[in-house]
């Protein structure tokens, strides 16, 4: 009994965690657009009608491309910015360091509703509405504070002796950063990259505001478009949801070993 109890609790939790997901998959595999009302999460039919309808639309592929471009560019820019800044915050003691760290925290408190109109004006004045570049700029900067804290926590756990001995061997600051710190931080960087990617891949509100042209939509905006005020095309919505969620799930699956370690170092030393 003592051995079974943890399994029982974990099983219940797992079922609860997976139920809505199974539900979405089930709806995606149905041929009707209505919300399924039976309790069983197992698919009652396996039809690829919804996916076919989705994939047959050339605009959909264009939107997939948008999402991929936006998310990967955001990840690249965001991780670069966060790595350099986090390294400085972790290794150097300079005037403004504490203030800088506080500012990073404070920006997390800015309500999105306050930022939306000014950001719209800003992006508009740069001529970047309907353009992937606009979203990339906004996403990669909004993800910076969390990523910096995250990476700084990791860098803090790396022993200073490593760098000291490298300096003895004549390494300059850039060599230290590129050759010593970054290779040792792969797990944390992977987790940071995952978060940047997720931020960009999943974000809806700003994408819907900045992208007026259907061809410029990212996938969340597309998926959301199936949800109407009065009726919802649940079949297409679910199929889109599956397509949107799969890459993130795959990344989670690949990176989940790093996730536990990479995330916690940031938390511990935050």
């Amino acid at each position: 009994m003592r051995r079974l109890l943890p399994h029982l609790v974990l099983l219940v939790a797992t079922v609860v965690a997976l139920f809505p997901v199974a539900w979405v998959v089930k709806m995606a595999l149905r041929s009707s657009q209505t919300f399924s009302t039976s309790l069983s999460p197992w698919p009652d039919e396996v039809s690829l009608v919804q996916f076919e309808a989705l994939f047959a639309d050339p605009v959909f592929w264009r939107q997939v491309l948008n999402s991929v471009v936006v998310a990967s560019a955001t990840t690249a820019v965001g991780v670069f910015l966060a790595c350099t800044a986090a390294y400085a915050f972790s290794r150097y003691r300079f005037p403004g360091r504490r203030a800088g760290l506080q500012v990073l925290l404070v920006t997390q408190m800015f309500p999105g509703t306050l930022m939306m109109i000014p950001l719209y004006r800003l992006i508009e004045s740069m001529g970047l509405l309907d353009r992937a570049l606009g979203l990339v700029l906004v996403y990669s900067t909004t993800a910076i504070p969390f990523c910096v804290w995250q990476l700084k926590g990791w860098f803090d756990t790396l022993p200073k002796e490593l760098e000291e001995s490298a300096i003895m061997d004549g390494a300059g600051p850039l060599t230290l950063f590129w050759r010593i710190i970054l290779p040792l931080s792969r797990p944390a960087i992977a987790v940071t990259a995952l978060f940047s990617f997720m931020t960009a891949w999943n974000e809806y509100v700003l994408a819907a505001t900045f992208m007026g042209d259907e061809r410029a939509y990212t996938l969340p905006v597309r998926v959301q478009s199936y949800v109407g005020a009065y009726t919802t095309e649940w079949g297409l919505f679910a199929a889109g949801a599956v397509v949107v969620s799969l890459p993130v799930m795959a990344l989670f699956f690949v990176l989940q070993r790093h996730l536990v370690g990479g995330l916690t170092a940031g938390g511990v030393k935050g």
């Binding site: 399994h7 609790v9 974990l10 939790a13 965690a17 809505p20 997901v21 539900w23 919300f35 309790l39 910015l81 966060a82 350099t84 800044a85 400085a88 915050f89 150097y92 300079f94 403004g96 800088g100 925290l105 997390q108 408190m109 309500p111 999105g112 509703t113 306050l114 930022m115 109109i117 000014p118 950001l119 800003l122 004045s125 740069m126 001529g127 509405l129 700029l137 900067t141 909004t142 910076i144 756990t157 997720m198 999943n202 509100v205 969340p220 998926v223 959301q224 949800v227 993130v248 799930m249 990344l251 989670f252 996730l259 536990v260 370690g261 916690t264 170092a265 938390g267 030393k269 935050g270």
Partner: protein, 554 residues
């Protein structure tokens, strides 16, 4: 003393010049933009009026009239539903009447209208401006409908974001100058040159953009401005590199140059795309949008919100009621996330547990699903007629519940959704922290005869604290501003009661078009969070020693 004086003497003029340049550029930009907009608007208004008088037949008659060479037909439209986000756009046709063809069919903004008309028109003024006259046939021959004179599109019209970026770059460089001891060679000169370059780059690009538009390339101005931005970045990068190299050679003895070089890119990005919009939002909160203009109203929005003008202090949509709901929402969620996450982590951390990896992968699945999808699916599940939850209640022999008809059930639906969404994060954080606790501590405790509970109370919890406290604080801020779940699941039903502060702000701005009021409301949200941050910062600082002791998951 003299050092200090020299330093101030060196830096003060630098700041003054920079400040003056910034102000001057702003003023000029404003002036030329205003002037330009005014002329273009007047022109288009005239045209629209003329068009209203003549009608489509008028323009056809115009096209047949051999005395008329050029005509322009313009309309004003509003592009979208939000009066603020979607500005008025001017659309114009310019027609070559003799050739009978439309020259520039659809033009997107006022500048393009002006430009098109100037190109269809006649005079190129010596100062670089264009003047165009549009004529319509009248009984006494031609009559001039509208005359437009464009300003030469001044290269001084720096886009304001460029100015902001330049000022930030200049400020960063200024910091560097301050750190260097004065009189050491060319450092201040280099700094000044760099900041001038930073200011001039968007300027130059602007000029290029205008030129390209004048000669009528097929590139849109958006492309050009996007390219300008990238080019500015491309120019800024080598400049930074030069700074870095010169720092390396030791021409500037600042001990912190590397630190600043490393944080500069992130801070500039943050400054332009986070701090500047925030400041803009604060300014917005002191204005109200009346018609098409922003009118200064001072602090009256704040007074209205805090005094709950027009409603009782304690009812849905009043600031205090919404704040209380938000606080409750945050508290309940964070408590549930933390307790569920920690409990599951404790189970998963048992060394003897089998299928550990499988559970771990499956339990973080909710985290990977985008939150708006989660929210919409759960909303469907809580639907009174076809929702699964009521179906389940039916199976258990209970009556169906109309979930969004009363406050507590709607609140419960929101909380359920958000808990499902949020517990994996706390699970992962707890799991990592648990793994970092050395096993020999437990062995020692066991030798001393400590019970399970005592071990948890005196070993696990204290050692988890440094990892959990920051995660909880971060989680509380996120939950406080969690827009998707509230907006998509309960949608504030019944009667705005379950709205939290951010969703209410969104409604004020985008459903009621009260932009200034919504901005003030949002600033107050920020103030509340800031106060919360100050309160919890003390808690964070108390952790400093334990962090040093217990830190190091690796």
């Amino acid at each position: 003393m003299t050092r200090q004086a020299a330093r101030i003497g060196l830096v003060a003029p630098f700041i003054a010049v920079l400040f003056a340049a910034a102000l001057g550029a702003l003023a000029l930009q404003r002036y030329s933009a205003e002037r330009h907009r005014a002329t273009a608007t007047a022109f288009v208004t005239h045209l629209a009026q003329w068009y209203a008088e003549q009608g489509p037949a008028g323009s056809e008659a115009l096209a047949r009239d051999s005395r008329v060479r050029f005509a322009a037909i313009a309309t004003r439209t509003q592009a979208g539903a939000y009066p603020y986000l979607h500005d008025l756009r001017f659309t114009a046709h310019t027609v070559d009447a003799r050739a009978g063809e439309v020259l520039w069919p659809i033009l997107e903004d006022d500048r393009a209208v002006a430009l098109a008309v100037t190109r269809s028109g006649v005079t190129h003024l010596p100062n670089g401006a264009w003047r165009a006259a549009v004529r319509a046939p009248g009984s006494d021959g031609e009559r001039s409908v509208a005359v437009i004179e464009t300003q030469p599109l001044s290269p001084i019209s720096v886009p304001w974001w460029g100015l902001a970026a330049s000022c930030l770059a200049a400020f960063a460089l200024w910091l560097d100058v301050v750190r260097r001891s004065p009189g050491r060679g060319a450092a201040p000169l280099v700094a000044a040159a760099l900041s001038a370059g930073a200011i001039l780059t968007p300027l130059g690009m602007r000029l290029v953009a205008v030129d390209a538009a004048e000669v009528g390339t097929t590139l849109g101005s958006a492309d050009l401005r996007g390219a300008a931005l990238m080019l500015a970045a491309a120019v800024a990068a080598p400049l930074t590199l030069v700074g870095v190299v010169s720092a390396r050679r030791g021409s500037g003895p600042s001990p912190h140059r590397w630190a600043y070089a490393y944080i500069a890119p992130a801070m500039v990005g943050l400054g332009v795309l986070v701090i500047v919009p925030f400041a803009f939002g604060v300014v917005m909160s002191l204005h109200e949008r009346v018609g098409g203009d922003w009118r200064w109203v001072g602090a009256s929005h704040y007074v209205d919100i805090l005094a709950a003008t027009g409603r009782r202090l304690w009812e849905p949509m009043s600031f205090y009621f919404t704040l209380a709901v938000t606080a409750l929402w945050t508290l309940v969620n964070v408590a549930l996330h933390a307790s569920i996450g920690l409990a599951l982590a404790l189970l998963l951390a048992r060394p003897t547990l089998r299928f550990k990896a499988v559970y771990r992968v499956l339990l973080i699945v909710p985290w990977a699903v985008p939150s708006y999808i989660t929210a919409l699916v759960w909303k469907g599940m809580f639907n009174q007629q076809y929702g699964l939850v009521n179906h389940l209640l039916g199976v258990l022999g209970l009556a169906p519940v109309s979930w969004f008809a009363s406050f507590w059930t709607a609140f419960a639906a929101n909380v359920t959704t958000n808990t499902w969404l949020g517990f994996p994060f706390m699970l992962v954080v707890s799991l990592g922290a648990l793994q970092s606790i050395p096993a020999d501590l437990y062995e020692a405790a066991e030798v001393d005869g400590a019970t399970r509970w005592q071990q948890f109370r005196h070993i696990t919890l204290p050692l988890l604290r440094p990892a959990l406290v920051p995660a909880l604080l971060l989680g509380s801020v996120w939950t406080f501003n969690m827009f998707n779940v509230i907006y998509l699941v309960s949608g504030g039903q019944p009667g705005h009661a379950t709205d939290i502060l951010v969703t209410e702000a969104y409604r004020l701005a985008f459903e009621q078009d009260r932009y200034g009021y919504a901005a003030a409301w949002s600033v107050l949200i920020f103030v509340v969070l800031l106060a919360w941050g100050f309160v919890t910062r003390r808690a964070g600082e108390d952790d400093e020693p334990s962090r040093a002791a217990g830190g190091g998951a690796h």
